[in-house]
Amino acid sequence: MRHEIQLVGQGGQGIRLAGAILARAFGIYDKKNIVETHLYGAAARGGLSESELVISDEEIYYVKVQNPDVLIVLSQRAYDDFSEPVKNSGVILADDFYVKNFKGDDKRLTLYPLTRIALDTTGSLIAVNVVSLGLISALYSVINVESMRKAIRDLIREKHLSKNLEAFEEGYKLGDNR
């Protein structure tokens, strides 16, 4: 099965790091085939930031996402520009602080207080990335939560690790409670 996950937000929301954590969890710990690509360049700071993953048991030929199964949007522009191709059966998880305007009745969309949880648990906005990862780990059965924890330990600096793991668990609870 081919799965497509896409994360979009602003520079400074840790989008690229979140993509790298997902890639590592799937690629190294779950031994799936993955391809991680991202919008590249100056846009990564302040402007639009994006990371996308294709995950499969088979060989991956087309490396870009076409119709994401999961889209995380952490800014209004991210929702405006990236929500359309998401599968009808897919989910769009949006941050309720930054994403306010929606196109009609979008059944794929659910809002979550991701930024608020990041601030409450770590005092830092950037942790919104791990909160989001916690959330999709709970909601999306393809993701192995243990692998995610391991990948976070690998990729986040010692100094920030405990706070970030805490934020991840808070995000996980958010999805688990539903």
Binding site: A20, A23, R24, G27, I28, N33, I34, V35, E36, T37, H38, L39, Y40, G41, A42, A43, I60, Y61, Y62, V63, K64, Q66
Partner: protein
Amino acid sequence: MGQRKLISGNHAIAEAAIRAGCRFFAGYPITPSSEIAERLAELLPQYDGIFIQMEDEIASMGAIIGASLTGKKALTATSGPGFSLKQENLGFAIMGEIPVVIVNVQRGGPSTGLPTFPGQQDLMQVRWGRHGDQEIIALVPDSIQESYEFTIKAFNLAEQYRTPVILLTDEVISQMKEQIEIPDDVEIIDREFPSVPPEEYYPFDGSKGLVPPLAPYGEGYRYHITGLAHDKTGFPSSNPKVVREQLERKLNKIRKNRDEIVDVEEFLLEDAEYAIFALGSMARVAKQVTLDLREEGIPIGLLRPLTLWPFCDKELINYAKKLKHIFVVEMNFGQIVGEVERYAGKYTKVDWYGRADGRLIPPREIKDFIKERIHEN
């Protein structure tokens, strides 16, 4: 089983270079290739190697040629605009027969174009961008595994044929991350040392073979290299016979060894009636298209050049004789299709689909195009 690694294409190239024995890198920052330089700035000093960021692309090309003459393997990396600037000294390396490897991570052009988006618009500038007649070797990976393996192969070919080799990748392949298997054993080819004493050594003497050995500096072999037309000793000559013989040898060392150099991937071609011809990141898209069309019952395959130059003319003709239709798909407005038509056009129908807007062409578009053309015929 080798070590499994999750790595970007650019980093794979840097690490493979070290593995191949590269101990010198000179470069100039350019998107989307800079990560190769950044990684080698870190790695080379740990391996007794030298990294230097030069003042421009031209200087980087000159510096790697100088470094190679000392007997060490040398690399530079750039993108289209930088490659344009390197052409001058690349021509010198071809004339002087000095082994070096140049990575070109293609982005959208012309001019500054699309620095952070992919393109396949340098296929012809790699082949014909310099003045004068010459053969060039260019390898095109379509994955990170191949980026690693082809980097090593590029160094091997450079040393074996005493010539510059180009590794032609693109923004997609170089920036994305996927898993690779670092092979435990790799074949490393080193430069041949002259078998004759210094007083009998001539750097361009073709009498014992098409590829005369290149003596490293500092070993008692003092010779001359110039960009001017020269005789076997390396000194300038404008004698028409000498000029022709030398140039023919330089061309023939690639042409006559083309079977050793040229490699293609034949993907589901065995029973195919149709084929896509695509390379690099577009070949990956084409593989998806091939599988999808097969599911719909269309007997199609993919012919993918792993060596862009020299061109896979023989292999192509071989399939063209059996196929009803070849579809060339490329991320530009028509470059390699000219070569395909030149060789396959006599035997079968050749159609083209492509564009250059900084995006991979999605499989659906290509599928629709191919189905429409098959239907029309």
